[in-house]
Symmetry: C2
Subunit: 421 residues, 2 copies
């Protein structure tokens, strides 16, 4: 089956927002084995939306629209799309009641504009909007499946998960299971090179690579009659990947390095304290992005200057003078300093030269030689301190992300390696 | 003039990346007064790309493609687009020499695939690629202007700025100047409500609102015969905005709150130390994102636990017990603690309840009542400590961003208010 995604919204054409809705939907459709050959974006304009729908009818089996379901005058997706299929809009009682109740709870008047959100194409399947007021819907007409979803990403992702994807899954008897294999320290293209044949020949399960924030992951998706069966089908693929990239895969079906670290710390009942120089609080920020961080993250210091390293961590001035602030001994002293001050189980430190600003374009070759190094140290309560030198010289933002990633990976490896009683 | 943007890349249709190129281009075109009515995305497929170009010819004066200019077999944009206009590709000598030189410098062989990047439509204007190997180009044919740009965002944004926008500007005798008016503490929609009439009636200068990461900004763009003239035309609009929103506008033509704060600190020769609880290092991270931070940011602590507040900052246990860790007295003690320990000129602290995870959908009304407060304190060397209570209760990520923003804004207001000798 072939799908086309039509986003409706003048704000997209003005560049106020990126079309992340289309990205998110495309990713889910790819995992389901549904092909997407076109994305289109039109403004809040009935005629141009109708044109896009008529065109999509000629080249897709499934047409998914995003946006234009809300209460304002420029929200006209439902009327325009229904008209393309000769359907009328009619009020959907439960949605109408829900919208009225919502306004009554807020003590506000529910205007006709707001009620209009509950008018949907006759005979459609209605998708409840758990994050907003405008419901979405799906219908089948003339052999085409049409799905209309709201534009705000939070509403869209929720409704996709609970409404649209189950609807699409219902078009087939199969069940899909996706596993996520997360990598650190190897790029998407290097993984692709290794796995090109596997990825191209894989039909069920499929294997697709993605990259985010200096990390890469593979999504392994199997289709079968039951969830258990599909899960079992992913197993040999995941096992093969684990055996091929043991040093790079940090987790399967985890969200991120920081959530893998948090999970292990919680499991072990251990606490962590941080001493960051070049990463400037990024590791603390990432770990405390996760709820319940206060049980495992004691806290940390951002010791950007030598004076802060000495004052907050007791790193001897002489050590900084003799070895430099970006050195293995400095990293070790920082990790041991925060371990001693905090009483936590682990002290993790980073010091480095995380790239000077943006990668200077044009001077690509020069840049490659002036790249920065970073030192990471992990001090373990009642144990040893290990130091690792890593290469992070690819521009400031990327360098910091890499340095933070290497530090989290070092701790994760330590947490995995020990047999805690 | 009407423009259409066609993005070429199977990775977009698989959802591996969002179409940020189209967003970036659209924003620039909007500022130039060029209308965009359609975005289209097609995969690396000659036939579908040709179809998109033929369609765009019927409804746009300017066709901009992104992606598919590289050296791999699936990069076929130039050939397909040139064919739509009956043009041949021919080698562009300077580009060919540059690509060969690049490979020779790297000590690698320049394959025919790589040389093919220098083949461009006959008679086109060539745009040098300062961040990669594939040049872009523009040509005029049959009354249509066609511009081809590379897909990688870093290459695209650089070439847009140095190549494509000047080319488009050259189609008119006018010069454009954009000013950016940055807001904190007021939402995009609240600004729009206040300014709807002004924005809708504004033709030259235009006024367009944007939102990013809990902040909003207005872009004021004027068109005139000279740069000075255009700049002068923006002045009354910017002045009017400054008089309408004195408490919300933190800067004009600055990049962000953190860069405004950094700039002022540098100007005054002052240093800052941070004590963060709920923001978990986010303020330190944002300030150290900016180059040269080590001259003005002494460092900071992430004191997530009470023990860290006491150990690292000397906040008395009794104070935490009596007032709680999320309280004005705790914030003040944190700011004063880091000021004393650092010897910096300012100590800035945040403690708060930055929202518990994602905004719980469906329970929208409940959420509004269980929202979190945060306390911000600023301790000034040889001066007073001020404490401010702010409301940040909109989910963890948003709450932390808001709390960090309020803290930066408090410091910025202090830096602006004083007449330093």
């Amino acid at each position: 089956m072939i799908a086309e995604i039509i986003a409706v919204g003048t704000e997209l054409l003005l560049g106020a927002t990126a079309n992340t809705d289309a990205q998110y939907i495309s990713r889910e459709l790819a995992a389901m084995g549904i092909f997407v050959y076109h994305h289109a974006v039109v403004g809040d304009n009935e005629q141009r939306l109708a044109g896009a729908v008529e065109l999509a009818k000629t080249r897709a089996d499934i047409i998914i629209t995003t946006g234009g379901l809300g209460p304002t005058y420029d929200d006209m997706t439902k009327g325009a799309v229904a008209a393309c299929f000769g359907l009328r809009l009619e009020p959907h009682r439960p949605s109408l009641d829900r919208i009225r109740e919502y306004f009554s709870k807020l003590g506000r008047v529910c205007t006709p504009n707001n009620e209009q959100q509950a008018w949907l194409p006759e005979g459609c399947v209605v998708f409840d909007n758990s994050c907003g007021t405008a419901p979405g819907c799906a219908f089948e007409s003339g052999g085409k499946h049409v799905i209309m979803l709201p534009g705000p990403p939070k509403e869209l992702t929720a409704m996709l998960k609970t409404g649209a994807l189950p609807y699409l899954a219902g078009l087939s008897d199969d069940v899909l299971v996706s596993r996520f294999v997360r990598f650190f320290g190897i790029g998407e293209s290097a993984i692709e090179n290794e796995l090109r044949e596997m990825m191209e020949s894989a039909v069920n399960p499929t294997v697709a690579p993605y990259a985010t924030d200096g990390e890469a992951y593979l999504r392994v998706t199997a289709r079968a009659g039951t969830r258990d069966e599909a899960f079992e089908m992913t197993r040999p693929v995941v096992d093969k990947l684990l055996s091929m990239f043991p040093q790079f895969i940090y987790g399967v079906d985890v969200d991120s390095l920081e959530s893998a670290v948090s999970g292990r710390l919680r499991e072990r009942g251990k606490t962590l304290a941080l001493a960051e120089s070049c990463t400037g609080g990024l590791i603390a920020k990432r770990l405390t992005d996760i709820e319940g961080a206060s049980g495992i993250i004691w806290g940390g210091v951002v010791v950007y200057t030598n004076s802060a390293k000495t004052e907050l961590l007791g790193v001897p001035e002489a050590l900084l003078r003799d070895h430099g602030a970006v050195s293995g001994p400095a990293a070790a002293a920082m990790a041991e300093g925060i371990l001693a001050r905090s009483g936590a189980d682990y002290g993790l430190s980073v010091t480095g030269w995380c790239g000077g600003g943006q990668v200077p374009c044009r001077a690509m070759t020069e840049f490659q030689t002036s790249a920065g190094d970073a030192y990471i140290a992990l001090a373990v309560k009642g144990g040893e301190t290990s130091v690792k030198k890593v290469f992070v010289g690819h521009g400031r933002e990327r360098g910091r992300t890499l340095a933070a990633g290497h530090a989290l990976k070092l701790l994760l490896d330590e947490l995995k390696s020990k047999n805690y009683a």
